[in-house]
Symmetry: C2
Subunit: 217 residues, 2 copies
DNA sequence: CAGAATGCAAGAGCAGTGCTCTCTCTTGCG
DNA sequence: CGCAAGAGAGAGCACTGCTCTTGCATTCTG
């Protein structure tokens, strides 16, 4: 069983989700294809297991980066950098988690749950800065609107935050910016423009952090 | 030939890139699979043609939204909204263009070229606002760094802009934020949080526009 | 200790895929 | 009228996911 998962991990890392063939996995562990169906219900089942593993792996990287001994703002930037690095090292897994959803596959609740570990790590940093008073809470421009405010409140609670709703919104926006930049780079949208995207990424992560309100960069 | 392309379009829209089967396309046009190989070199070849079409379609939508009779800032926001709407109406095509790259496929230069139409439409709005003096050019915080400044200059030129490099950078960052938000929504990352994401999208597009420097929203 | 029950793997087979090769038929043109 | 070119058909190869049946070995039980 563990051997099957490990072979699946290798296949996924090398050939990607589309190329993840149950028969190839079977060959790799020295079984015939029908034999692996004793351990895994279907190809999608194996994929689900690998997705869960991958979510855990990014979260590990993110949490580790967030545990550095500096200011929350700098740890936020480090967290973003860790996401990017992980994506560069595991492009197929990143695509699986944050790219186009696979054809007929629908993530079960369990993976939806584990997927929140990473944003929770970021949220904790925001909360820490807010509590320490180093988070700049911008004067509210236009008020948020009923639905948006409600969604932000719910999201803040889900992430374990107790901050004003606009702060949650800014975090969400920064989050989309960070992932947008990483995805653009990894998916080849930045080719011929920011080709070594290191500087662009670093600058964007800092911008995102400032947008959230971090003043301790 | 045109029938094949049309059938491919339908298949792609319904079943997605992974489900795009050349045999199914053949069935749909009432041919046997080997016959369509007279018109299309391979499955990837058909996919490439469809990708080019799709790039043109988004660009059409973007340019149409950008041609409204209001201020550049508002047209920028409308453009973002058009991207989102197009993505909602053509989720599989959107995933093909901006999601995880397909397995062994590498976009030929031609599609890379047509892909710039959409960002060029956005760039034109920025240029227009800059020329009109309604674009706020933020005081430069930390200077940009050699590589980043060079990349921004090249990118600005490729997009037909003549504005300071930081403006180009801010546009690129806003761009990643916009696409990040749209992709997050379309790829299901926002489920259980911003579930009807209309308000979030609208707010984020406005935020992106302000980040670029538009003051005429 | 003998026999039954259980678990694991193999094999064959079905329906589908991309793609190639050969063959036939129709159509247009000199 | 005859010939060449093009369009489609058919068979076939190697691959995929998945199911069902069969065989073997281990383990549990009377």
């Amino acid at each position: 069983m563990a051997a099957i998962l490990e072979a699946g991990r290798r296949e996924l890392a090398e050939r990607g989700a589309d190329g993840l063939s149950l028969r190839a996995v079977a060959r790799e562990v020295g079984m015939v294809s029908s034999a692996v169906y004793r351990y895994v219900a279907s190809r999608d089942d194996l994929l689900t297991a690998l997705i869960s593993e991958a979510y855990g792996a990014v979260a590990d990287a993110a949490e580790h980066a967030a545990s550095a001994r500096t200011t929350p703002g700098r740890r936020f930037v480090r967290l973003c950098g860790a996401l990017r690095t992980w994506g560069q090292e595991h492009p197929h897994e990143y695509a699986l988690l944050y790219g186009s959803p696979v054809p007929g596959y629908h993530a079960p609740e369990a993976t939806t749950d584990i997927a929140t570990r990473t944003p929770r790590a970021a949220a904790a940093l925001v909360q820490e800065a807010y509590d320490a008073g180093t988070l700049e809470v911008h004067e509210p421009g236009p008020p948020l609107g009923r639905v948006l405010a409600g969604q932000c409140a719910a999201m803040g609670e889900a992430l374990g935050m107790s901050v004003p709703e606009p702060v949650v919104l800014r975090l969400a926006q920064a989050w989309t910016q960070v992932y947008g930049a990483i995805s653009f780079e990894l998916f080849g949208q930045l080719r011929n423009t920011f080709d070594p995207a290191d500087a662009f990424a670093a600058h964007t992560f800092a911008t995102a952090a400032r947008h959230v309100g971090f003043t301790d960069l």
